[in-house]
Symmetry: C2
């Protein structure tokens, strides 16, 4: 009978690898580098080697493994097909089958943001609820939708792509995705800095941001909390669009809770409260009381979610 599960979160720099008991306990955790050379063709063999090493180390065989869950930075279908992971150099192929052939272990895959959502739903900020939308605000803005305990994949593997909702009217610059006016362009860590630089250039308002050596999202939130008028203007602008994004998510799936994660969420209650203010202003009245909470698992969320994919509901 199988005893363990692997939860692997494949990122652009490292793969976070968790070994879990079938009861869901994290037994060990390591990171291996994501080797993107040769069109990303080394990544799955590296993961396979890692898993074989862990099994040897634990005196186990593939028979002891219930499955491998894997989160990937791209659109994933429920059948295991990945629809391009640009960051990894991958095209379209069945990544679940490929890793399964290398390891002899059943594999399921999901989009990394969906896996983070599933992890938070399982043991993190969403664990007391039945449905949730997670928004991960870091370098980009990712999202994941959980309904009745299951991640929503979407027909093209693109459900929960909240960062690319077309919310910003009149945007002239292009998003990484090629469109103009995506939420991510103002609300990601880089988007927040871009917004601040724009506002600094457009006004003569005195601001502590003018004298800091390096403007980051963290600095902007710190200065806003400290009362700097221009930094406050930036955070209000950013959170107004995030509130709109959450209102759109509520209008479509009406979850029980929103969970906010990613590096920018370290800005804490000030950030959450500001999003909530604008959310309440523009959401449909029936969803007005929906809670917005902070994520709890940090960078481990995706690894937990990938394992949960194997554990099932």
């Amino acid at each position: 009978m199988s005893k363990i599960i692997f939860g692997i979160d494949v990122g652009g720099t490292t793969c976070k690898c968790g070994t879990f008991s079938k009861e869901g306990e994290l037994l060990r955790k390591e990171e291996i580098p994501t080797r993107k050379d040769e069109g990303g063709s080394l990544i799955l063999p590296d993961i396979s080697e890692y898993i074989k090493g862990v099994l040897a180390d634990m005196n186990m065989t593939t028979e002891d493994v219930a499955g491998i869950g894997m989160g990937l930075p791209g659109a994933c279908l429920e059948d295991g097909t990945v629809n391009k992971c640009i960051n990894l150099g991958w095209g379209v192929f069945n990544a679940a089958n490929a890793l399964s052939e290398l390891t002899g272990i059943p594999v399921k895959i999901g989009n990394d943001a969906n896996m983070a959502a599933l992890g938070e739903f399982w043991v993190g900020g969403g664990s007391e609820y039945n449905s949730m939308v997670m928004v991960t605000i870091g370098t980009g803005v990712g999202g994941g939708v959980i309904i009745d305990g299951k991640p929503l994949y979407g027909f093209n593997g693109a459900a929960g792509e909240i960062g690319h909702l077309p919310l910003v009217e009149g945007e002239t610059e292009s998003c990484n995705c090629g469109k103009k006016g995506c939420l991510e362009q103002v609300a990601s860590a880089t988007g927040i800095v871009r917004t601040a630089n724009r506002m600094l250039a457009e006004s003569d308002m005195p601001s502590s941001l003018r004298s800091v050596p390096y403007i980051s999202a963290k600095v902007i939130f710190d200065e806003a909390k400290g009362g700097d008028a221009l930094a406050i203007q930036v955070t209000e602008y950013v959170c107004r669009y995030l509130g709109k994004g959450l209102a759109c998510a509520a209008g479509m799936v009406d979850p029980e809770v929103f969970v906010i994660g990613g590096g920018v969420s370290a800005a804490g209650e000030y950030f959450i409260n500001l999003i909530d203010k604008y959310y309440k202003e523009c959401v449909f009245h029936a969803s007005r009381q929906t809670k917005i909470v902070k994520a709890a698992l940090g960078n481990d969320a995706g690894m937990y979610g990938a394992a949960k994919l194997i554990l099932g509901n």
Copy 2:
């Protein structure tokens, strides 16, 4: 053994009542008036009387009925609770239990737009697909989300409220829902007329719309098809926002197909193609090829969907 199913679509003026075989065949169809006097307290007793009449007429008893599905113009929860139907004068109560007590037959309820979506999914425009988002463009803009053959209710019964996505920046007037900037304010039949009247007032552009005795959404689309520049400007503006709304829906649930229904959808291919043009412009690339099709069941969709709620997957 039960032989028939009732599908009732409760509207503000009439209730459309369908009697279906367990195989899903529509056996008979009638409308009864929706009596809104006395706080809407006559509506369920009227439906109960109607059902008893049909059973007597068909020489059947309640034993012959598998269930009653009922679509209602308000937020509905899966447990049968209706969270206000302002049009009917209803507050918060379990409408499914109430009708079940009156009839002695099991009852399930759903929001009318969700039921229309389920009907179209079952035997209409969405019948070849596994997931869909329906948008009903009439007096208002309603929506319904179907995932894996099931309507998505949402925690507050508000999933699929696409008409109240906050998409229109800088809107100064209020929507019926109390907010400002809802998609419905520009894209419902009344919103389209309002948009035309604004554009007529703001410019001196000659337009056939200036001389028609009565401007309706139909007239505007007819004139646009005929080449009137201002009417074209109105339809482009309206469809740009509808395209954005669909792009937001795709970003959250990524359905296999969009089905467009309601009175305004009579504008046909011109309308669908224009929505599609703007959809493609602002949707996340993975969902770019998602089909947009016209609804097929007209005003019967809600009745079919209500019956399907009883038939199950």
